[in-house]
């Protein structure tokens, strides 16, 4: 499959009379976006705000981060199963608004995490301090149940992102990158001497606030399957995951999957990047056994020589990670895993909830329990009402001088387990 990504570099976001993209600037009239959000009657009101790198702004609690894109050639549209029909995506041409993100924020449950600081020490830990952020805070109707609340805000985010993406239609991209994988036979003929490499992505799938969707399907109900790595670039995989901000994969990270990008960079040179395998992280132990058996079998059937395995979340997924690693290695497929650690505030505890000698090649996104002091910032988008309740915070979190004492786990994508950031630990 062949997908062209046309990158349109956004250098500023401004509120304006008319929504458009001109000269690299995204002009937004919030009144154009409001109806897109409010078409869901569960949402009562929405407000938009802009946060730019370097500004004294804190966004919290963050639900999801999305990159606006539009499909201009080829089958299907953005976010299949949500905004578009379920046509198979991942081929043709897609335009992406680079350097910016749509951030959905606001309270869904009382203990929700997710902090993006646009300046200060916290900004070093989140990739979304470097993007121009259009932030969307939804207010839902009274008495809405938590499930409905989460779904309403999640889906509104995709609709708004698609609407913003539409503004790019017809604009000449600043740069175009081509991603192309071969069919099985074609790849073997084209790259007879290169090792066959796959990517196994574990998706968070445990229930409310812990779900991931593939073409609109709740991924806890899938049997592990093969996709083209380009499909996620069109929004085939989206996040419904609101907990454990540091190591959940926002939709943005699925769209810009760093493992996929870095494997493509080697494709045809040192490796033949064959495909992506997606699997889940269920609560039920027999599901874990079945899914890890399937991923190992797929790796074998595809004659892969090596894979990279990434996880999402804390605790339970460590067991899936180790099961997958053990079984895939046992098939003779060389495996590198990407994870993060919960080694305690002092760094002295066991980092993972599970372990095995087969996991001899590990990349880590760092210790999520490490404590950081975040300074008081001038402006908060969202609310600080819940900051004491979120993961990695405590009653001492909001200190008298307005600074926050938190663990890195509250910061969005700080210890990302797809290797999105440079943080590590030894």
């Amino acid at each position: 499959m062949r997908l062209e990504i046309g990158k349109i570099n956004i250098t500023d976001i401004r509120f304006a009379e008319k929504s458009k993209i001109e000269g690299g600037v995204l002009y937004v009239n919030a009144e154009d976006l409001k109806p897109v959000v409010l078409e869901d009657e569960k949402i009562r009101d929405v407000c938009f705000d802009i946060a730019k790198p370097g500004e004294s702004v804190r966004i919290t609690p963050v639900k999801d981060v999305i990159e606006p894109r539009v499909k201009v050639e080829g089958k299907g549209g953005e976010f299949p199963g949500w905004v578009s029909k379920v046509d198979t995506v991942g081929s043709g041409k897609t335009l992406a608004l680079k350097g910016m993100a749509l951030v959905t924020a606001g309270k869904i449950v009382g203990f929700q995490d997710g902090v993006i600081d646009m300046t200060g020490p916290g900004a070093d830990y989140t990739p979304f301090s470097k993007t121009l952020n259009l932030v969307m805070v939804c207010e839902t109707v009274e008495g809405l149940k938590q499930h409905d609340y989460e779904a309403a805000v999640r889906k509104a985010g995709f609709r708004v992102a698609a609407k913003l993406g539409e503004l790019a239609r017809g604009i000449e991209p600043d740069e175009t990158v081509v991603y192309e994988t071969c069919g099985i036979k074609e790849g073997i003929e084209k790259y007879p001497d290169l090792p066959r490499v796959g990517y196994v992505a574990m998706l968070q799938t445990q229930g409310l606030l812990h779900d991931t969707y593939v073409y609109g399907v709740d991924a806890k109900q899938i049997i592990p399957t093969i996709i083209s790595p380009t499909e996620a670039m069109d929004g085939a995989i989206v996040s419904g995951n609101c907990v454990s901000a540091c190591d959940k994969n926002p939709t943005y990270v699925h769209q810009n999957n760093p493992v996929v990008e870095d494997l493509f960079a080697q494709h045809g040179k040192t490796i033949n990047f064959v495909c992506e395998i997606i699997t889940n992280e269920n609560v039920y132990l027999a599901d874990k056994e079945r899914s890890s058996n399937m991923t190992a079998k797929l790796c074998r059937m595809l004659d892969l020589d090596g894979i990279i395995l990434t996880q999402e979340g804390f605790g339970n997924p460590d067991t899936d990670l180790i099961m997958n690693c053990k079984k895939i290695e046992a098939e003779g497929v060389k495996t590198v895993i990407v994870t993060d650690e919960y080694a305690g505030r002092d760094g002295k505890s066991q980092s993972l909830a599970d372990a095995d000698p087969a996991a001899d090649a590990v990349v880590t996104g760092g210790n999520a329990n490490e404590v950081i002091i975040l300074p008081k910032l001038d402006k908060v988008i969202g609310t600080l009402d819940y900051i004491n309740k979120i993961a990695g915070a405590s009653d001492k979190t909001l200190r008298e001088d307005g600074t926050l004492e938190v663990e890195l786990q509250v910061i969005t994508a700080s210890t990302n387990e797809m290797g999105f950031g440079t943080l590590s630990a030894r």
Binding site: E261, I308, V338, P357, T422
Partner: protein
């Protein structure tokens, strides 16, 4: 700014006194002097730091008189009140490495003075002390002196000045078993791809998170005939005859004990106690059968469920005891049990 004051520890060989034949010289304090590698350190320090005294001690003397020499050196260092204490580098010299580790760790722990040393990764002193002081990794022989001094000098200045010490791989010290965050140059996905390429090519690669040590032992086949089996008790719960005749340490045990159960049917507070310092000893001291179930074993013996209880039992304290020591105890206890014809062992902990 005032220069950083450094006290340096070296052995008889690096002090130029002599080799093995001089290894028994007692500790000497040379105030105001930099000796041997200390001169190279001083050159490296430039205007930032200087060695204000050098302590020299023979390796044999140190290791044979540890407590005495440690107290003596700590006394000197306390009076000198340096900003930093440097020992070595010891390269691959085993006894020297252990001496450097011992004294550097003691200075840091007991005097609260920053300390560091340097040695080869396989020096036995490295494993023993890398979590108690900063040990910088050096080559395996004194041919690596120049490199070692360069590394140690840079670290010393940063450390003594109160600079933030980063992760072990950043600042070149041996990992202390504590996970420390830092920013890599490449993002995680790129590092994963690079690691995979090495793994695919069968080239060496370094994992960023070594899995915990798995020392799994396959269980022996089940004992078929328990009614005729000799069963022994072995414990890491510290149960010893009253008074702890072998002085087994309450933590970080360096030995185990072998004790007779001849004629003993029940342990009570007048005869047995625990030497263990890692749990509330009240219940074990009141009735040591709670940890070492001699009473039940005698009952089973009487009922014919087991053949007999071994006449000797073995005990140590599993409280911060090093894996190396524990392995050594296990091997020796196993040998003795085998020699006594024991068929099965019940291991009890705390």
């Amino acid at each position: 700014m005032a220069k950083i004051k450094v006290v340096h520890y070296i052995n008889q060989f690096f002090a130029g006194i002599g080799g093995e034949e001089k290894a028994d010289i007692p500790a000497e304090l040379h105030k105001g002097e930099a000796i041997g590698p200390g001169m190279a350190f001083n050159t490296g320090f430039g205007d930032e730091a200087e060695i204000i005294a050098t302590i020299v001690c023979g390796d044999s003397y140190f290791n044979e008189n540890i407590e005495k020499v440690k107290a003596e050196i700590l006394g000197w260092v306390k009076d000198l009140a340096p900003d930093l204490f440097i020992a070595g580098p010891a390269f691959n010299a085993g006894r020297y490495g252990v001496a450097c580790g011992t004294i550097a760790a003691a200075v840091q722990e007991e005097l609260g003075i920053k300390s560091m040393t340097g040695m080869y990764v396989e020096n036995p002193g490295a494993d023993m002390y890398k979590d108690k002081t900063y040990i910088l990794e050096t080559k395996d022989s004194a041919a690596g002196m120049r490199d070692a001094v360069k590394k140690m000098t840079a670290f010393a200045i940063k450390y003594a000045n109160g600079g933030k010490i980063g992760a072990s791989c950043e600042d070149g010290y041996m990992n202390q078993g504590v996970r420390v965050n830092f920013f890599e140059k490449e993002r995680g996905s790129k590092r994963a791809v690079d690691m995979l390429l090495k793994k695919l090519a069968d080239k060496p690669f370094t994992t960023e998170y070594p899995m915990p040590d798995f020392d799994r032992v396959e269980p022996n086949p089940a004992v078929r005939d328990m009614a005729h089996a000799t069963v022994a008790l072995v414990t890491s719960g510290g149960i010893v005859p009253k008074g702890n005749p072998d002085h087994i340490e309450s933590s970080s045990a360096s030995r185990f004990g072998e004790y007779s159960l001849a004629g003993v049917t029940d342990l009570d507070e007048t005869t047995f106690e625990t030497a263990h310092g890692g749990y509330d000893p009240v219940y074990a001291n009141a009735d040591a059968d709670r940890v070492l179930p001699v009473d039940i074993m005698r009952e089973l013996e009487k009922e014919g469920v087991i053949g007999k209880l071994n006449e000797k039992y073995y005990a140590t304290v599993g409280n911060g005891t090093s894996v190396a020591n524990a392995k050594g105890f296990g091997a020796e206890i196993g040998k003795r049990l085998k020699a006594d014809g024991v068929d099965a062992v019940i291991l009890t902990s705390t």
